[in-house]
């Protein structure tokens, strides 16, 4: 029984590490690869949960995670980046060191919080819940420390990975909810993509601060 949890913790831990990796990448292509790695790890974690807990519906979730977020979205984003010719630009708002320190603090916060609120018989799952919460917070952090629209999309998708992980660990989320979440994320991705091309067409850059200049925002 302990092995089951050890492996699921290992996979969740790998996801957290990829979250950190997302934070310090310099090039967009590397960011997308790290994201693909995170999604594939998520698919593995969900598949492991499906196999070990005998919940076959979770295999579908794992399949969606792998095909959509592990393959389709990264490939699509790679092609977008190639078409826009922006593979070197990763404009950061704060430095890598500071972002990593904040990420560490968020992980500690997630641990402290989950240890306090999740007590009792379900406490086996709480490590995974803490890791998932940390991944969600780091995805959010990624959205706000990067200026580039593509990296913001990746941050958003990374948050969603954390949510799926939490849902798998919490044993509560039915497949319908799962599918609808995945679908809504897909829609959001389309919106983001259209948005990115529009920005590009108009401003010749996808630095979102270009939008701010249009509305008179002072940096």
């Amino acid at each position: 029984m302990n092995q089951v949890y050890d492996i699921s913790h290992l996979l969740a831990g790998v996801m957290l590490v990829t979250s950190f990796a997302l934070l310090y990448q310099q090039r967009i292509a590397a960011v997308l690869n790290a994201f693909a790695a995170q999604s594939i790890t998520l698919a593995l974690a969900v598949a492991w949960a499906a196999w070990s807990e005998n919940r076959p519906d979770l295999f579908i979730t794992a399949l969606i995670a792998f095909s959509l977020k592990g393959v389709v979205i990264p490939v699509a984003l790679h092609r977008t980046v190639a078409r826009l010719g922006i593979h070197r630009e990763v404009e950061k708002v704060v430095g890598v060191g500071a972002a990593l320190m904040v990420g560490l603090a968020l992980t500690a916060l997630a641990q402290a919080l989950v240890v306090k609120i999740a007590q009792g018989p379900a406490s086996q799952a709480r490590e995974e819940l803490a890791l998932a919460l940390a991944i969600i917070l780091m995805g959010f952090l990624m959205m706000i420390v990067r200026r580039n629209a593509v990296t913001q999309i990746v941050g958003f998708m990374s948050m969603e990975n954390g949510l799926i992980l939490a849902a798998t660990g919490a044993r509560g989320m039915p497949l319908v909810v799962e599918i609808s979440v995945a679908f809504s994320v897909l829609i959001a991705l389309f919106v983001f993509a259209v948005f990115v091309f529009r920005i590009r067409e108009r401003f010749d850059t996808i630095d979102i601060e270009a939008l701010d200049r249009m509305r008179g925002d002072r940096r």
């Binding site: 916060l109 306090k116 959010f140 952090l141 959205m143 706000i144 925002d217």
Partner: protein
């Protein structure tokens, strides 16, 4: 239960009248008033039946929130207030029947009038918090719409804006009050709340919220600022309803919460209503004495009367908390009878003011005068109302004030030092208020109805149509009868007293005559209105007779003595301002920082001399203007938040999330 159907049909008729009135235009709108009068008559009859016959009517309607519906209940307290309200609606409707069909009906007023009437009735019979708050808000909104009916006048617009803000504040306070009453279990039915009264701290918060919610609707200082602007801005028969009746719904709300839902009181609950009420009574009249607008003076006088009622309610709470049921009954009887009496005489006075406004087109006292010759009937009815409002025996205002002073004097027996020492101070303030009320109404009546007309319009005034005279006359008769038959009224409200304070006037009927009102003990506190009325009548007739005997037989008419100035200008008369000058000098300097300036041009200069008075309203400056400025300043600062970049919004959300998570991590 036929009563239930009668009530339902009457309320339905009001709603249908409102709906139909939105569809028709012009003279056809006149149907609203007879219909409202009939509905008010039917509702009042049901209320009277329930009050006299005991028992209660209960109904549940499957409308509104799913599974909860609307609980309605008409008990003796609701029935008493229902009589007060439907009496006012009846008088205002009869007054409305007299409107000129061609000129005075507008689609802005007539559809809302029956809706307003129905909403006030609904507040009284609501038996759960949802129904109560819904009908309370309906009442606020319909009355607001009636205030804004004459929206072309910037004063009206300002008044309605302020009213809307204050109504929103009041309703949100009531929302908190009911939230506190319902408790964590969320039982919003009044029977559930009654079964589980809140703990003492929550109860204190509920009481404070109820005081804010109901006090703002009733005009308790410092929440009064909207009232003297909004009540006069509405059409006069609506002013009569708002001032005479809607403020009573506010009192009902407070009584329902403090005496019925909140459980057994603590003694210190009594202090806020007593202190606020006494301050309101005195300040309200000081405002009234200094104001020059006829309807605004009446609105300020309403504020004073609400203060008096709240003092009586506070005393009733104090007596009840100490187990002195007899005192509680006297104080509560004073409050309830004052509610009834004030609704009669204030409706009468506002209808009279409406008649004056209709006849002259003016509300400023300094433009009126001499109306007693031109509108003799209105003048007579207004005189009755003014005497009642000044609490002179044998009219009805005196009965309730007398009971209140009995309760104040008995306040000496309260064990707590704070109440023990407060009682005489409150008594002194109420006495001051009573004296100021008399001065105020002498001033109003003297400038508006006596003397010579100060304007062309006043000189051309004529009396109002018969229906409006009937409305005023009926109320005047009620004021006189209510004064003479105070003991009968006290007996009628006995069931309400038993429900609210667990006792009634125990020594009722032990006085020397069948109609004498006995507060505590027939040996020391009796008010015998018929005997006093008889004495007053005999003394006046005798005096009249003797004077006529001793003087020359024939009436001679001659010019009035002109103080040696043979100037026929009516401007040489006392004006409302000059009559108020002594009081302004005595009180105004402290309370309103009154400053008088006289500009006297030097000899040879033919400019007129000028005299001006500047009054400062401290309450407005500290509690309305200052927070208003603060809100503006804050919103200017926060305005920057509307122009951030997407990433900065995300930072804000992220920061909020992290802070909340950290708090959760530390606190739990």
């Amino acid at each position: 239960m036929p009563e239930l159907y009668v009530s339902g049909a009457a309320l339905g008729a009001l709603a249908v009248a409102a709906a139909v009135a939105t569809l028709v235009r012009g003279p056809a709108l006149a149907f609203v008033y007879p219909l409202s009068a009939l509905a008010a008559l039917a509702l009042g009859a049901v209320d009277l039946h329930v009050l006299l016959g005991g028992g209660e009517l209960v109904a549940w309607l499957p409308i509104g929130l799913p599974t909860i519906g609307v609980h309605l209940r008409l008990d003796s307290l609701s029935a008493f207030f229902g009589i007060v309200i439907n009496g006012g609606i009846l008088a205002a409707s009869i007054y409305g029947i007299g409107f000129d069909r061609a000129k005075e009906l507008t689609p802005r007023v007539e559809p809302l009038f029956p809706l307003f009437a129905a909403a006030m009735n609904l507040v009284l019979i609501a038996d759960d918090a949802y129904a109560f708050l819904f009908s309370w808000e309906l009442m606020s909104l319909t009355s607001w719409a009636l205030v804004v009916a004459r929206h072309t006048d910037p004063e009206s617009r300002r008044a309605s804006y302020l009213y809307l803000i204050m109504a929103a504040i009041g309703t949100s306070a009531l929302l908190f009050a009911f939230g506190g009453l319902a408790g964590p279990a969320g039982g919003y039915g009044f029977d559930t709340i009654r079964a589980h009264p809140p703990q003492s701290l929550v109860a204190a918060l509920v009481l404070a919220a109820a005081l804010v919610g109901c006090g703002s609707k009733g005009g308790l200082i410092p929440l009064h600022a909207w009232l003297p602007l909004a009540h006069p801005a509405a059409p006069s028969h609506v002013s009569a309803l708002m001032s005479g009746v809607m403020t009573k719904v506010a009192v009902y709300g407070f009584v329902r919460i403090a005496f019925d839902l909140l459980g057994p009181p603590s003694w210190w609950w009594a202090l806020p209503p007593i202190v606020l009420g006494a301050v309101t009574a005195v300040l309200g009249l000081l405002y009234a004495v200094l104001d020059r607008d006829l309807k605004r003076v009446l609105a300020y006088s309403t504020i004073e009367n609400i203060g008096v009622i709240f003092v009586a309610l506070g005393l009733a709470l104090a007596f009840r908390a100490n187990g002195q049921h007899e005192g509680a009954a006297v104080a509560m009887a004073a409050a309830l009878l004052h509610v009834l009496n004030h609704s009669w005489f204030k409706s009468l006075l506002f209808l009279g003011a409406g008649a004056v406004l209709h006849a002259t087109g003016r509300r400023d006292l300094d433009g009126l005068g001499g109306l007693i010759h031109r509108m003799p009937r209105t003048a007579a009815f207004f005189l009755v109302g003014a005497l009642a409002a000044s609490a002179l025996p044998p009219l009805n205002g005196f009965v309730s004030e007398w009971l209140l002073f009995q309760a104040v004097i008995a306040g000496q027996t309260l064990p707590q030092a704070a109440l023990h020492f407060a009682a005489p101070a409150i008594g002194a303030m109420l006495a001051l208020a009573a004296a100021l009320a008399a001065a105020c109404f002498v001033r109003v009546y003297g400038t508006a109805f006596l003397g010579r007309p100060r304007s062309v319009e006043a000189a051309r005034a004529h009396d109002v149509p018969l229906a409006q005279q009937i409305a005023m006359g009926g109320l005047a008769i009620l004021c006189i009868l209510g004064g003479l038959l105070g003991s009968v009224l006290a007996a009628v409200i006995a069931p309400v007293l038993r429900v609210l304070v667990g006792a009634d006037l125990s020594s009722a009927g032990s006085g020397p005559t069948p109609l004498s009102l006995v507060a505590f003990d027939p040996a020391r506190s009796i008010y015998d209105a018929p005997v006093i009325a008889l004495f007053v009548a005999i003394a006046s007739i005798t005096t009249l007779f003797v004077v006529h005997r001793l003087s020359a037989r024939r009436t001679r008419r001659g010019p009035a003595w002109d103080c040696g100035f043979p100037d026929p200008s009516p401007a040489t008369q006392y004006t409302a301002s000059s009559f108020a000058q002594p009081l302004r000098r005595v009180y105004g300097a402290v309370v309103f920082a009154a400053r008088e300036t006289v500009v006297m041009p030097p000899p040879g200069d033919n400019r007129p001399a000028q005299f001006s008075v500047v009054l400062t309203d401290y309450v407005w400056r500290a509690l309305y203007a200052a927070p208003g400025r603060a809100v503006l300043k804050l919103s200017e600062r926060l305005n920057a938040l509307q122009f951030l970049s997407i990433r900065r919004y995300l930072v804000l959300m992220f920061a909020a999330l992290v802070i909340l998570l950290s708090i959760a991590a530390v606190m739990i």
